[in-house]
Symmetry: C2
Subunit: 235 residues, 2 copies
DNA sequence: CCACTGTTGTCAACACTGTTGACAACAGAT
DNA sequence: ATCTGTTGTCAACAGTGTTGACAACAGTGG
C-alpha cells in the first residue's frame, strides 16, 4: 500500500526511507538469506530503492551492521529490565546467560557479525551495568568484581558467538551439523585415536545447550567460591 | 637467488610453486598486513606469480585458509606431543589451554578466520584425542567425558578465538585497545550507571591473561567436582 | 631426436562488492 | 515564488574471487 514505494521511474519521494526501516530490512535480509547476502544492491532491492540511497542514513556498511547489532541487543536489555531488583545475584546472572543464548539463537547471522565488536551503545552499557551491579552486591573488592565480570561476560559472549557463527554458516560449509562428528571421528584409525573412536557415538549426541548450561554453572560456582573465600579472609 | 623466480615476461617455470610455499606466503601476508590484505592478487605479487596460478594448488580461497589454519594448528599438536604420558589429566589440560592461547597470540589473523571451522585435519584430530584421553583417564562415564570435553574445548577455543579476533581487528576499528573501557564507561551518567562508573578504573586495567587463567581454572575445578561426585555415587 | 601428455603459470574476462561525486526531485521556510 | 537543505538516482571506480582458453615447460615412449 502506502504510495507504491516507487516503480521503475518513480522519482517521487513518497515513502520516506529512515534509519529504522533500513535497519529492519537489513535484519530481515541477513537472517533470512545469510550474512553473505547482505549487500547494498540487495538491500536496495528489498527497500525498492537505489543501492546508494542508504548512504544518506549511515556512514558505511560497518555503521549499519553495528547499529543493527545494537538494536537487537536492545531486546536483551529490555528482558533483564523486567527482573526484580531484589533477586539474588546468581539468578540474575543466570537469566542473563540464557537471554544471550536465546538472542544468539534468534539472530545468528547478525550476532556472528557483531559479537566481538564494542558498539558503545545504550543496550551494551545497560548490560554491563547489570552484571557489575550483580557482582558488586556480593561484597567483592572492585578488582574481583571486574575480573569476575570479564570471566562471566567474555565466556558467555564467546560461547554464544561461537554457536551463532556455526549456525550462520552456509549450509554446505559446516559439515552437516552434528553429523560431522560421526563422519570424522568414526573413521579415525583405532590404533592412534583410541579415545576418539571410543567416544564417537557420544560425540554425535551431546547437546549444545547442555554444554552451555554446564559451563555457565562452572562460572557461577567459581564466583561463589571467591565470595566465600574472601569472607573467610575478612575475619 | 635461484632463478629470479620470474621477471616481467618470465614465462619460464623455474622456481616451482608448491602448496607449502603458497601456505607460507599466505601466512606471512595475513599476519603482517592483516586479514583484509589476503587477496589473490596480493598473494600473487608476494610470490612473484600471477594471481590465478594459485588455483592449480587449492580449490578456492577457503581451501587455502583452512589448510593454513591446520598447518599452524600443527604447532600446537607438536607441542602437546612432547608432554609425558604419565602426567596427570589436570596439568595436561592446563598445558593445552595455554598452548592454544599462545597459538592465538602468535597467529591472531589466521586464528580469527579459522577457529570456528572444522578442518578435519590431522592436527585437529590429535588434539581432540588428547583431551578425550585425559578425561577418560579420570574414570568418568563416556557421556560425562564428551560433555566435559566440549565444555573445556569449546570454552578455551572460543576465548582464544575472541582474543584473536580483537587482536586482528584493523587498528582504527577496535577502540584503541583497553582505552575503550575508560572512554566509554568513565563518561556514563552516574545516576543510571553507578556500578559502571564505580569500576571504570579497574575495568581499564584488568589483564586479558588473568581472565583466561581464571576461567580455565573454573572449568578444571568443575571437572574435579564431577569426578569426585561420580566416585561417591559409585559406592 | 621427435612427438605426445600432463602439469602449471598467464591472460582476459565475468559477475560481483563497497563507495563516491555530480545531479535532480522534492519539502518546507521565507 | 524563490531559496535551501534533504534525500534518492545514476554512472563510475577500484577492488574482490573465480573461470576458461591458451601457452610454456618437464618427463616419457618410440
Amino acid at each position: 500500500m502506502s504510495t507504491s514505494t516507487r516503480s521503475a521511474k518513480g522519482r517521487g519521494r513518497s515513502t520516506a526511507l529512515s534509519r529504522d526501516s533500513i535497519l529492519e530490512s537489513a535484519i530481515t535480509v541477513i537472517e533470512r538469506d545469510g550474512v553473505a547476502a547482505l549487500s547494498m544492491r540487495r538491500l536496495g532491492d528489498e527497500l525498492g530503492v537505489d543501492a546508494t540511497a542508504f548512504y544518506r542514513h549511515f556512514r558505511d556498511k560497518d555503521d549499519l551492521v553495528l547499529a543493527a547489532y545494537d538494536r537487537v541487543t536492545g531486546e536483551l536489555a529490555a528482558q533483564i529490565r523486567t527482573i526484580a531488583p531484589d533477586v539474588d545475584w546468581r539468578t540474575r546472572l543466570h537469566s542473563l546467560a540464557w537471554g544471550s543464548w536465546q538472542l544468539a539463537a534468534r539472530y545468528p547471522a547478525l550476532f556472528s557479525l557483531g559479537w566481538t565488536r564494542t558498539t558503545g551503545g545504550e543496550a551494551e552499557s545497560e548490560i554491563v551495568e547489570y552484571i557489575l551491579a550483580a557482582l558488586a552486591s556480593t561484597g567483592m573488592t572492585a578488582d574481583q568484581v571486574v575480573l569476575h565480570y570479564r570471566m562471566f561476560g567474555d565466556t558467555t559472549l564467546a560461547l554464544c558467538g561461537m554457536a551463532a557463527s556455526v549456525a550462520a554458516m552456509p549450509a554446505e560449509l559446516r559439515g552437516k551439523d552434528a553429523a560431522a562428528w560421526t563422519r570424522i571421528y568414526a573413521v579415525l584409525p583405532q590404533a592412534e585415536y583410541p579415545a576418539a573412536r571410543a567416544h564417537a557415538a557420544e560425540l554425535a549426541t551431546v547437546g549444545e545447550e547442555d554444554i552451555y548450561r554446564l559451563t555457565v554453572e562452572a562460572i557461577l560456582d567459581r564466583i561463589e567460591v571467591t565470595i566465600a573465600s574472601s569472607h573467610v579472609s575478612d575475619r
